[in-house]
Symmetry: D2
Subunit: 310 residues, 4 copies
């Protein structure tokens, strides 16, 4: 595969500013690309269930501190007597954005110097009690759609994506061609980059910025994946590696711009190695995908346990 | 419907002790009745998706203090700059057992003076870092099964169950007969009791014990529902009202005994009024039900957003 | 004592607007009336230690939910092995403002429609990471000054202040006269109103607003205490009952206005019954008072354990 | 100063087992060496206040993640309207043991294979709701005693203690001799080791164990300081560096053994550089020290802001 030229600054800017979906579903729309997941798409997704195998795409609740987990999740226990028996109850606390927790980003999560989703002003919409626009409860009825695996290491014949070879948008198209997959509007794509294999091969690096400043480096998806999401009317990007850093362009956000520009959901830090294996074993690239975010009014996202059902 | 005699103490004891499922799926089993949700049952559940309508069974994340919400859930916000843009992130904290939060109970959640699920000793299995047996991560691949609505107010021609008329097991059988529903092993049942209508009709009462001691009263499901769960090999009970209190028998737990005795999951404080309405509108009693608990190793359950898909 | 006329609206407004201490210690001052606690005042306070008796003015960390404690403080435990021994560690979490926790308010805690302390704009100074003006760390070197007991029930010959007879500013002056106490600039006053006796006599009432809206009623200090604080150059008001409610005037804050208008610290929900008893037993009205707020940069106050040393 | 021989295993064991204070103040005593801080000692301490200068020994509430701060403290904000004004309130959450937070350890915090303070069994005394023996509320009336600075870098003519030269007990005696200080029972000692200077000189090291296993190295106080604490009947050790690691002996705890063996309080991670400077400037080695732990029933310690008053 010959190398392709990188996009220019103007092209990148155009992806974010000229191709954005603001107003596409009404100027007050808070569903974004989830509008593309119609009841008919849910029915179609359910028909992909054939063997009944179910796979969790969630990492364990990240309790342990590490360079990848600057704010460990809290799990505290109580036991209490009840008559001549008793019960155990526990407290969960999590600052879930970052690189440790499998979670979904709501449309309000990011913005650039122009605005957040649908042109709203974050100064007006983000307050101490949460967001008043584009928050997670608008997806409370769940995301049930076709999930499609795009297995980059398998395509490359390697175990994981590396810092010097980010995943470009055209490579995702190549995978579609090679695997003979046709995306349809409202599909969720699962881009597997082999994050756990990368971590095992690089035990002294951390995927997240450990602490402090400086320029951060990490392998992942190149900003050129943005037009791929837009062209194919993807509803949600499920990924294990996130945006390739440094971005290489003077923009606040790379692939994360799809939240505010396109209304596309992001499901960060998914555990995709088991899913990739299941796809090979089931000889399939597609499955029913279900994400059920917690119904937090004003929330910027939610920890989640996405399920792929074959 | 003529009144039926209440069970004797010996009968109640027999339901819990003699009919329990310990060892049924092996003495080290941590899945319980979820073993009944086979891949084939998942496939069958997916075929129930016909109109593609999806309904959340989750109440909003309970942030507001009230007599029903002694430990309000925490939702705290941060915003941070990123280049010339920024992002919002938030913290969720919740002590989710109780009557405010829609959540699933893991098998380790309750026990009586004999033992917890499968005969394990809670003193050995419950520690400061969580439970080492019957904890929620064993259901991390999700619960995807047929959900069946049992609408008690509709059956009674009222709006809600009252303190003086708890839901007995035989009434659930009556509903099955009347609606011509046949339960199959592994089904999840959604017992709607009209909790929100009850609360609206009794604004000065709280469904949960507000504070302090004394005998608690609340409408709900009578302990006679236990053999119903066992007879029909139910995998999960989804309910809006919980155990009728006072229990009326000298046992630590009423319907909540199904956790440790039968290995049956409980999904407490579900929001079932919208589901009941959808069932009427869709002229259906069954649907695909999906629950995706957070993957918390050692957790006693999880806040959840159950989805019913028609 | 003949009843005295209540202040007019204009008088109340004048106390807050005309007599405020803005600029008194410089326009950028963040210490407020704590400027009056000079090193010499600390030395003088230390000389009040004679018997060496020390009394805590802190209520227990409020873990239990109640109508007075809508957001219970969190206390969660862990134990961990260490070699052939081990250790226990715990987590404390508290949303400490309200009526349950003994805590100090920083100057940034309250504001009216004009501004916060020293004329600052709360919209500019209060952010997601805390306050950037008048926050608690400015008092991190501690408050060590003369404390003076003003025992209202003792003065009245009752056990506690009641809803129909709030504590007026002139009554505090009466107590000074009767007890032959002369306040000096920088003194902290401990106004004991018998809150625990009131609660015991009114078990069905809650001192705080339990839940929901409506007009709140509670006994406490009348807004006429404001000029008392200003006239005597008090540095800190330590109280068990708080502002009498309803206020009776169209202002956002009653006695709590002393924070933004005068720069006077408030130590809310102190446990003053043991201190009142100690004062009687020691035949004293004064003592060394020490408050050591946690050094939280940007904090709006701090849970605290104030110490009175005789 | 000639090097002195290190203690033998038998000597170390004897310090912990033979010289312990169990039963010294009664078998049910929960105050420990704080019994030595009598009212007379408090009076004497207050007489040390001469210039009125007050110095906080607390580090800032540790919100920022770092290799030294694996569990960052939480600080979350809310603002709420009140009439035509408003207020700001915040949440503090902290798992305060470790090396980041200035805090006091209660007697229940540590144990070895024999027992915790006064011979109690941690399995019986430590539960999900806290400790039932030796917990922090027993010191709720505060610690007010003479504080004595032992400035190791000043004694050594360096800026900080290093890994290869831990602080031995005999060096503390040398400092007493050199500075002509006589300790009295109930004194608190502040052992300054220059931790912040060490960190500045070693920016790539972390004082705490960052993450994961292995043998930990850090400069600090050698286990030979134990008999110093016992010989001088110290009530509390205030330190910036903690136990020198590795310990070098087969015991669970080094200096931290003073909690369970002697009943001596520990005030960990104090900020002592400003105090050391103040001592030089005031030409004094002693001051009134005040610690006011939060009144947490069952707590294993408390975040604290210790005050030194000259």
């Amino acid at each position: 595969m010959p190398p392709r030229p990188l996009p220019t600054d103007a092209e990148v800017r155009s992806w974010i500013r000229d191709r954005r979906n603001w107003g596409r579903w009404g100027k007050d729309d808070e569903l974004g690309a989830m509008n593309l997941v119609t009841p008919a798409r849910r029915v179609a997704a359910s028909r992909l269930v054939k063997s009944g195998r179910s796979v969790s795409l969630s990492r364990p609740f990240p309790k342990e501190p590490s360079a990848n987990n600057a704010y460990p999740a809290q799990h505290y226990m109580k036991t209490l007597p009840r008559g001549n028996g008793g019960f155990a109850a526990d407290y969960y606390g999590i600052f879930y954005h970052g690189v440790a927790s499998t979670h979904i980003d709501a449309l309000c999560h990011t913005w650039d110097d122009d605005a957040m989703w649908n042109g709203r002003d974050p100064k007006k919409e983000i307050g101490f009690d949460g967001a008043t626009f584009g928050s997670i409860e608008h997806w409370a009825d769940g995301i049930i759609t076709r999930g499609v695996m795009l297995d980059v290491p398998r395509h490359r014949g390697t175990t994981h994506v590396t810092q010097d070879a980010p995943v470009h948008g055209w490579e995702l198209d190549d995978i579609l061609d090679k695997r003979n997959i046709k995306l349809e509007p409202g599909d969720a794509i699962c881009v597997y980059s082999g994050r756990d294999a990368w971590q095992a091969a690089n035990p002294d690096l951390s995927y997240g910025r450990p602490f402090g400043g400086g320029v951060q480096h990490r392998p992942g998806l190149h900003i050129s994946c943005l037009p791929f999401l837009r062209d194919h009317d993807v509803s949600m990007l499920v990924w294990d590696m996130l945006d390739h850093l440094p971005i290489g362009y003077d923009v606040a956000w790379a692939v994360h711009a799809c939240l505010f520009a396109y209304g596309v959901a992001l499901l960060d830090n998914a555990l995709l190695e088991p899913l990739a294996k299941a796809c090979v074993e089931e000889s399939r690239d597609e499955f029913m995908l279900v994400v059920a975010p917690l119904r937090v009014v004003g929330g910027t996202g939610s920890p989640a346990n996405p399920l792929a059902v074959f």
